[in-house]
Structure formats: C-alpha cells, structure tokens
Assembly symmetry: C2
C-alpha cells in the first residue's frame, strides 16, 4: 500500500514554484556568465556580516538560539517597535508558509494578483486554500481591486508585494493605508516588503505596528545580500506575531545566519552603499534597454522590468537566447506583463556582459519567431 | 477583530518543545561553563566542512540550490541508493514537520513513546493529529507494543528513534525489520536515526530502500557536528520521498550549510575520529557517574543517561543545581525515566568541569529535597 497521504496532500502536484539557476546551469552544462535572474544582490552582504558568519561557523556545532533573541531585539529597536512585534523566520518564504498555515484551510479564500509571487501561491495551494486572482492594472498590483475582491470573497488573506515583483512598481504607504480602510474586518493584508529597502521613502506604511489589519514581511535576502542565509522577519501586532509561536520551527534558524543578519543590520552604511549601487545599476540596465530600442519600466526594486513591446513569445525567446549566451534572467508569467523581461541589478561587469550579448540575443529571439 | 486563525491553529498553545541553552543563559545572566544538555557535538565538524562553509559564505548573496543536487547525489552514493530515495531538508525537525504535514490531519492517530522526542509531538499536535503514547519498557522504546498500538489505532505513523533519545538505548536493525512484519499495511514507520553514526553497527536496518513501510531520518546535527546548520535528510522509497516535493520549501536550505554538509560527508576520517571521541567521552561520563555512586545506562548515542536511583524530583533538583554551577544538562520528561539525567558527550575539559561540580551539585540537590 502506498503511504496514506492526507486527501489534501494526495491532491497536490509535486512541483517547484520556479526553477533555480543551478538547475538551469546543470541542464546547459556550464555556469552562467551573468546571474541576473533571481533578484539576488550581487553586491553582497556587509563585510561585517561575512566576518560574523565566519566567526559563528566555528560554533556551528551548537543549535541556533530558538527565539533569535539578539537579532529580534535589534530589529525591534531598528523599527522602533516592541520585541513582541517581531518574529524571525526562515526567509519570507518560510514566514509566508507559517502565516498561510495559521490562517488558511480548505474552504478559505486568499486574494492575490495574477502573476505575483508564485511561492505564496504554492503555500496557499499547499494548505488547501482557494486562490482568487486579480489582474495587474497598468503594470501595478491593482490595490483597489484586490481589496474589493477580498471583501467580495470574504478572504482570510490578501497578498500585496510592495514594491512589486515582477513589475518593480510600488504604491505609497499612504495609498495602502487608505485602501486598508476599505478592507473588511477579518481579512489580513500580507504585505511582502522584500524589496522595501530599495524603494522610495514614501513606500513606508504610516500605520502603528499594532494595527491588526496588516502583517509586514522583510528579508535579509535582497538589499542585505544574504539570500542563501534564509533569514526574514515579520512585523505586526503582537497577537498575530505571537501566533507564530504555535507552529514555527523553534530551532529552525541557521546559527551563522543569525549572527550574520545581526551584523548586517548593524552596518547601515553598507546598506546605503548597496542601495546606491542598485540605483546606479537600474540606470545602467535602463540605458542598455533603451540603446536596444526597449522600454525599461520604473523600478522601486533591485531589478528592472523591461518592456519588449511584443508578447510572451518574444520574452520567452529572449530569456532562452540570453541563457544560451550565458546571461540568466527571468520574465513575468502572465499576460500582458509577459511582454516584459525582468533583469536583476548587477555589478558593472555583469551588466557589461548583458550589454555585449543583448543585441544578438534579441536578434536571435526575433528571428526565431519570424 | 483578531486574525481569523484556522480552528486548529486557534486551538494550539503558543509553546516551545524545549528551552534552549541561550535562553537559560540569559535568564541566569552568565554563560554555561559546560554545555552538555542539547546532545550537540562539541567536537565539531570536519575542518573541511568549516573551510567549505567559509568559502560558500562569500556567495551567500545567492539562494541555495533548490534540489541540493550535489549533496543529494553524494548522499545517494554514500548510502548506495538512488537520487530518488533521498530528500534534503531543514534538519530532522524540518523533515518531521513535512512528513507529518503530508500524512496527518485531524482525526488521524500517530503512535510514539511517552517521553520520546517532543518536537515530533509538537508537529503532530500542530497538524491536528492524535498522539497515542506507549510507555517505555526497560528504558527502551517498546517496539512490540508500539507496533501493536499502531495496529489497534489504525495509526498513520508510528515513530521510533533508534538509537533512542533520551535513554540512549537501541534496537538492532534486524529486530526492527522483524517488528515491521507485524505492522498493518498503511502505517508508516518514521525511524529517526539522528544518533545512528554513534550506534553499534547492528543498528543498521537490513531492508531495501524501496520498502514502503519505513522512512529513515538522518542529520548533520549530531555526529557530523553541524546542529546550527540545519541539514538533515530522509531515506526512503521513491513515492514517499517524491511526496516531499509537494510541500517542501524548495529554496529553504542555507547555501553555506549545503556546502558544509557535502564536505563533512566527504571527510569520513573526521567522522571516525568523532565517533571515537564520543565513545571515550561516554566512558568518562560513566566513570564520573559511578564515582558519584550513580549508574550510567548503556549508550548508543552521543550522550549518557545516568540513573540517579531516586525519582524525578531529584533529577530536576540536580539539573538545577548543576546549572547554578555552570553545567547545562537535561533529563527525561516522563516517569520512571525521569529518575535519570541526560549528559551529552563533551571534550575532556567539559567533563572535567562536570566531574568537579557534580559532587556538590548532587549534595545540594539531595539537601533541597530533605
């Protein structure tokens, strides 16, 4: 007899939300020359974070500190909130899993944008929730329609990434706060702020942390340059933050990553340098795009979404032809956003590779569709 | 309105399976002089693993490889099984969470021993399963009674740690294989082999990997000395291993930990050295116990369970009085096993601290009960 999975688990496909670059590299047999597809931060973490990880590696025989006490305290101080308003988790992916598990069971509806973060959808499906998808409007997540849909469907959760992935657009915090006033009681806004640090200042949500209508998710994977460390955190009202203690993996945090994140947080000078480097890279990607007759969209993130002016077929062909030439990028999944490709910020040497191969890759992509 | 948790999540307590040593240290205001309570491996990982982690830290800006391809292949080769028979996860804790989520929902019964690993119970409760607890017999998990109870209750899962924590005892693999012949179809044995590397060779389960009745869990946290890295793996038949792809956090692995675990696996010479060091430490703990009139139990693990010859009150008092003197140990939760304390193997200098303070700690513990 095969294992007796739950009815829900039995119904789920074996799937991965998206394919990682190492898998693509194994398939093609060589490494990419420019890794510009996973919205990682090639500028890397603070040297102090690296040093802290190296030192902590020597104590890797110890389990991590279950409450991530020092990091949690430092983040509370950094954000001017209480210890009870912060929970540390295994990246935003891990935290999205926890919040979904806490609130979603078969029969529950969750609202998100069609083409938004696939890993959130993976979690909602994985806990048996029903996804209700709202199209993007003008290449932004359609905030008013998301709220309306949540109200219509009595949704438990509504998800918005601000700034947005994969389009790079954003809403001001004031706009989100105003929209929340229209959200029905009993729906929680999951505000994924993975790209917050590279956004304009007015993306800041002007609401007290104890506002029970929203939980914010932050990460050390993007601007802090530690994607491989798996450290994220949630900021929210104490009752929802405390609920994570019911189900989280208390001893699930990597000990060196805890130390590295704390050191990274304490080096705001490095973060400022990264934010400048990201801004310069956005400009450079924009220039390269325009030089090739393409249209870069405004970006509040560490990537630039570039409008190819055609449709998903051309985008898919360009992703493939760039990969053949050693440049890893990705693209939005859903039309009409799939007329674009998404290029992560890179160092000057990474973008030089992009600039060199883009004209021929674009020609090849167009020729393949002719 | 508070967040609308699922009925199950609402019913769960905010709890932690056990208290970590850093939390105890913060409470007492100073660090422990000897950390002998968490069954960590103070002898530490292979220097090659440390070197691999240091090198990988420089690329911590990259997400980890989603399938942990290289480590998974190396483990498959190491165990002489297929790639499809291995899944890497965030420690055994993480893998126990996944297997529970795959198979347990409200209404399902899971069988384990009263006083066995609390984190497994945390997961079962967290997914709404009903725990059916079988008492230890002669300080061993009661294998025949566990199987019988699983059959009586139509259990989905039956959990055995072999070797066992917290008693340090073990069953031979042949005994477990024979017991499996009595297990009803449709119940999966979750065989937690966290302490396997320090056990006698006859603990090896003599069954083909495709046997659908059992899933084995291994870890880099114990003999490999990397508890803080959060790397474990499951070995089993392809259908159950493949089911993890439905729900696991594909990008949840720490990148440096992946590299470190691979290097640790490749340094079997260091592992052999650790196993010898652990054996010597077990002997030394046994000697210290006997010198104090106590009875060390035989151990197949990296800790020694010491019978104080009284009851749980004395054990609790000794844990407290040792902690006051800077020695961190733990003890079994459930009577009559709670007549014992559990002392993790340490270096000679750690055990020297234990030897020095044990007589007075024991006297203080006994006096406190007089």
């Amino acid at each position: 007899m095969p294992p007796r999975l739950t009815k829900l688990a039995d119904s789920l496909p074996a799937t991965v939300p998206f394919i990682g670059p190492e898998t693509l590299e194994r398939d093609r047999g060589t490494a990419f020359r420019a890794r510009l597809g996973a919205n990682e931060n090639i500028f890397g973490p603070s040297p102090q974070a690296l040093q802290a990880m190296r030192e902590a590696d020597a104590e890797i025989w110890k389990y991590g500190d279950a409450p991530s006490h020092d990091l949690r305290h430092a983040l509370a101080a950094h954000h001017g909130v209480g210890f009870d308003n912060i929970v540390i988790g295994e990246g935003i992916d891990g935290l999205l899993g926890y919040v979904t598990r806490l609130m979603v069971e078969p029969g529950d509806t969750v609202v998100t944008s069609a083409g938004a973060y696939p890993t959130f959808n993976y979690h909602v499906n994985g806990y048996g929730g029903t996804l209700s998808m709202v199209p993007y409007a003008d290449d932004k997540e359609d905030l008013p329609s998301l709220i309306a849909r949540a109200n219509e469907t009595d949704a438990k959760l509504v998800y918005i990434a601000n700034p947005d992935n994969p389009m790079g657009s954003y809403w001001t915090g004031a706009e989100i706060a105003a929209a929340l006033d229209d959200l029905s009681d009993g729906c929680l806004l999951v505000l994924d702020e993975a790209y917050f640090e590279t956004a304009p200042l007015d993306a800041t949500l002007p609401l007290p942390v104890e506002d029970p209508r929203v939980i914010r998710l932050r990460t050390f994977s993007k601007a802090y340059g530690m994607a491989g460390a798996r450290i994220g955190y949630a900021i929210g009202a104490a009752p929802i933050i405390n609920a994570f203690e019911k189900i989280r993996h208390h001893f699930g945090m990597n000990r060196s990553a805890q130390a590295g994140a704390l050191a990274a947080l304490q080096d705001q000078q490095h973060l400022a340098w990264v934010i400048d480097a990201v801004a310069a890279a956005r400009d450079e990607i924009g220039r390269i795009a325009r030089d090739n007759g393409l249209t870069p969209l405004p970006s509040a993130t560490n990537f630039v979404t570039v409008d190819l002016g055609a449709d998903g077929d051309l985008s898919r062909a360009l992703v493939a032809s760039l990969a053949k030439q050693g440049v890893f990028i990705r693209m939005p999944f859903v039309a009409p956003q799939d007329r674009c490709v998404r290029i992560s910020c890179g160092r000057p040497e990474d973008l030089a590779v992009l600039e060199k191969v883009l004209p021929s890759a674009l020609a090849e992509a167009r020729a393949s569709l002719a």
